[in-house]
Amino acid sequence: MRWTAEQVLALAPDAASRRAGSGLGLPGPWSETGGSGTGAVWGLCRGSDGRPYRTVVDSTGPAYRCSCPSRRAPCKHALGLLLLWAGGAGAVPDAEAPGWAEEWLAGRSSPARRREERAAHGGPSTSAADTTAADTTAGDTTAGDAGAARRRAERRAARITAGARELEQRLADLLRGGLASAAQSGYGPWEETAARMVDAQAPGLAARVRELGALAGSGQGWPARLLEESALVHLLDRAWLEIDRLPEPLAAVVRTRVGLTATAGGPAVRDDWLVLAQYDSADAKLTTRRIWLRGRETGRTALLLSYGAAGRAPGLALPPGLVIDAEIVPYGGAGRLRAELRERFGTPVPVKAPPPGGSTEEALAAYGRALRDDPWLDAWPVTLEDVVPVPSDDGWQLADARGPSALPVAPAAGFRSGLWRLLAVSGGGPVTVFGECGHRGFAPLAAWSGDSPETVALTSTALS
């Protein structure tokens, strides 16, 4: 199944690559192009000095290999090749892979190789196998390692506890002196507290503290927002300090909220996963990519996270609108949606129909239910069916097509241009919209109109 140009362009790590890649999406510079029919594409691209680069893409990964010196993944040649392939069979005919491409592709398709790759990334499934294999000879060391790991974990927990106590003290001081006076002292004290939480190895707490600092004096209604968020930090502190008394699912939530890394450990779920949305958010150090999936059989929604160090694109990319047959492994913790993508089967196919959805009322009810398992949750993924976007200078709404109710569109949804695309697709009529629904409003991420089954991404920058 060939992708669309939008889907290909959505893979570009940055605007410059997108531009360079779309320039190479033409037959001109390419020779000896071919595709396997199962998602592999290859070709030679003439470089600026006349020497050809060898480019191979496994679109089921997607994974890329190119002999060019670029460190971007995918590089402009891989993007150009995929665009060419997206254009149709004329430019990239089905063929036998040449030796240089076959070698890399074969390496990728062997299950052994995939296990190795996963082991290199520290996946838990293989470490169990290693333990059994090494049982007799290295039993002592393994036990010793486990003991060391436990001691490390205990030391870290103790530091977090100290951090949480300190933060409680800080919050008590804040409330004693009043939010008004805190707003006057500026961002400095918050940044200092956040740094203390980083020292305490509690990145989750640190991030929340930084957010508090940004809220103080942040426009109309800020005292209420600051009190809300301060109260939730306090709630998290208390929960951590008394984590032994919490039921395990909630304790798992608290651990991840504080900043302890969870591992994907649940039973694997195989399904046809519809890629609903993919979007990036970046700060100075890290680009975080979020990919929302929905299983056709299980009806389950899952979130894949992928990270890229400053300025580099995250490794995982799944174009919205495709359906992939794959196995995912959920992370621990009640109500948590995060999962890890594991084995994939076959080639992706385009989605045939939008996911089923509900009313605005049902969307808020779903968020409310999710709060029972995780009171720190800001938003919950939902699909709205038959809603009409209502534009306005005072904030947009998504209104039920039949009924008086509406959800405010989250003002902070950083995809202003996506809203206009949503309105264009609706033409004033009902559409299906997937997004994140929470206390700040509804952030639309993808839409489907009655006219076609095409998934209209509201987040991609390719057409912003």
């Binding site: 669309t4 140009a5 939008e6 362009l9 605007a15 531009r19 779309s22 320039g23 033409l26 037959p27 001109g28 510079p29 600026s48 665009l83 997206a86 254009g87 008590a172 804040l174 409330l175 004693r176 002196g177 009043g178 939010l179 008004a180 005292p223 209420a224 600051l226 009190l227 301060s230 109260a231 939730l232 306090h234 709630l235 009322e361 968020y367 709060l371 029972r372 009171p375 209502v390 306005s392 209104a399 009924g403 008086p404 109710s405 509406a406 959800l407 241009s417 206009w420 695309r421 309105l423 264009a424 033409g427 004033g428 009529g429 206390h439 109109s449 006219d451 209209v456 390719a462 057409l463």
Partner: protein, 535 residues
């Protein structure tokens, strides 16, 4: 947290938090010890916050937007839709490296062509592409008419919701909200009540449908229109101008506004059968004749000595622009407005070619030729245009009648498309490309075969001569957009980097081959675009 009662309101908590518990005890009833008060307040606030979030209810919907009008045009085929997305996506990419353009096609330059082709095929714009399309139209005024027509009723509907796209509602969207030109009552209502831009668009559409009806509409309200509006309305009569417009135009010659009078006179002079043209012919004939004293045939000129009231009423401005003598200025006005048919008769039965070749006494030749050029363009007279243009391949770059490239470009506009391309092909073969840019611009796209061949050969010659490639970037860009895509394979030979000839600009060879590669890949892309749209 158990001490908190639901009766404590959120506002009470926020007030206490704002002031600080040292100043205000949380109003939850149970007096907490001083050190515990802040934490008790946070406990209560946490309960409130989670309860409020868990109990969120939808708000009341505001009035929903009116649905967009239907668009019954055909849906774009998949590959064409993806191509459009790529063309529009390229626009938002940062326009990085000015200067060297690389070997990749410049997609932004192909958007107008794509839009024109999509319109010709009768396709509807995909809804999801409308915002990008409107943004493109906003950034580039040259794209607007095309982009807005393609965006269609849904695009205009969308633009109505976003102040940044307000431009789309300003009349340029011909035909979108206008009544059918034949629908008398609706036309009359809009004409009487519409905004200026709507009325201009309406007049244009009525004029295209029934020229006489447009004049009738205009006559009714003519006296009450403002001067600048009258000028704009009068201007729209250029389309479909005919002798039937003469009574209205003749009456506009007495208008209060000088600009309106001048425009009316100009329009009348484009009608060789009009009374004004006749008056001008008589005046011009008084000034220009055969020189009876000369031994060889020549033209004698006696420029007018005054601009009388009659001339002024017929649109001759009495005061010349600064730097021009008033007598030669008046002469120019008379000759450009006189019907060209008057000259063979006046100058001894000679053909236009013979007339253009005649010498003129006292250095009046340039003035006369320039006026004839304007007359030929205004009266759309190909015979005179041919005479004034001369043979394009003649060795001197100067033509017999037309001297400037701008004059030639306008004269070419009066010739049939094929002849135009042939003339420019001859010019390029004889004089190269350095002066051809403006002339190439008036040739129909794609360039006819002889013209395309002439341009490619001239580029090849320029490269072999070691010329600076960047001085040809204008023509190169034009060739990318205008050459027939079928030329691509012939051009493939030129993309190799050649050995640099002696005296060539350093590095020119690389630039040339890069430019040719871009040319080839652009032509291939255009061929692909056409194929996708015809699918």
């Amino acid at each position: 947290m158990s001490r908190t009662t639901p009766t404590t309101t959120w506002d009470d908590l926020v007030t206490s938090a704002m002031l600080g518990t040292d100043r205000r005890t949380p109003p939850d009833g149970a007096p907490a010890p001083g050190s515990q008060a802040p934490l008790a307040l946070l406990d209560a606030a946490a309960v409130h916050t989670v309860r409020r979030r868990a109990g969120l209810r939808p708000s009341t919907a505001r009035p929903r937007p009116d649905p967009a009008p239907r668009d019954d045009r055909r849906e774009l085929p998949g590959p064409a839709r993806r191509r459009l997305a790529a063309l529009l996506a390229d626009r938002v990419a940062p326009a990085g490296s000015a200067g060297r353009r690389g070997a990749a096609p410049d997609l932004t330059e192909l958007l107008p062509q794509w839009l024109a082709a999509a319109e010709a095929h009768g396709y509807r714009a995909p809804a999801s592409a409308l915002p990008a399309l409107l943004d493109a139209a906003r950034a580039r005024t040259d794209l607007r008419p095309l982009a807005l027509r393609f965006a269609g009723p849904r695009g205009i509907w969308l633009a109505g919701h976003n102040a940044e796209w307000r431009f789309a509602l300003r009349g340029t969207a011909a035909g979108t909200a206008l009544p059918a030109p034949g629908d008398g009552p609706a036309v009359r209502r809009l004409w009487e009540e519409g905004l200026f831009a709507e009325r201009v668009a309406l007049l244009g559409s009525v004029r295209a449908h029934d020229p006489g009806a447009a004049v009738a509409l205009l006559s009714e309200t003519w006296r009450t229109e403002r001067a600048e509006d009258r000028l704009m309305f009068l201007d729209s009569l250029r389309t479909g101008l005919s002798d039937a417009d003469e009574p209205f135009l003749e009456q506009a010659l007495s208008d209060r506004s000088r600009n309106v009078r001048a425009t009316a006179a100009e329009l009348l002079s484009a009608l060789p059968g009009s009374a004004l043209a006749g008056r001008m012919a008589a005046r011009a004939a008084e000034c220009v004749g055969l020189d009876r004293m000369a031994k060889v045939a020549a033209i004698a000129v006696e420029a007018p000595y005054a601009c009388d009231a009659g001339m002024e009423r017929d649109g001759v401005a009495p005061a010349p622009p600064s730097g021009r003598g008033e007598r030669s200025w008046w002469l120019g006005r008379l000759v450009e407005a006189a019907p060209l048919a008057v000259w063979p008769e006046r100058l001894g039965g000679r053909t236009p070619e013979e007339i253009v070749a005649l010498p003129a006494a006292d250095g009046w030749g340039d003035e006369l030729h320039a006026a004839w050029c304007r007359a030929a363009v205004r009266q759309r007279d190909p015979h005179w245009a041919r005479a004034l243009l001369g043979v394009s391949s003649q060795p001197t770059a100067r033509g017999p009648g037309a001297s400037s490239l701008a004059e030639r470009a306008s004269l070419l506009g009066t010739l049939p498309a094929g002849e135009r391309a042939e003339w420019v092909a001859g010019f390029v073969s004889a004089h190269g490309l350095s002066e051809a840019f403006q002339l190439l611009g008036v040739c129909p796209v794609p360039w006819a075969e002889p013209l395309g061949r002439a341009v490619v050969d001239a580029l090849d010659i320029a490269r072999d001569a070691g010329s600076h490639p960047w001085s040809f970037s204008g023509v190169m860009g034009l060739a990318e957009r205008c050459l027939d895509p079928g030329e691509a394979s012939r051009l493939e030979l030129l993309t190799a980097t050649p050995d640099e000839p002696e005296g060539a600009s350093p590095g020119a060879g690389g630039y040339w081959s890069e430019a040719f590669r871009r040319l080839v890949s652009t032509l291939r892309l255009r061929a692909a675009m056409q194929a996708e749209l015809s699918a």
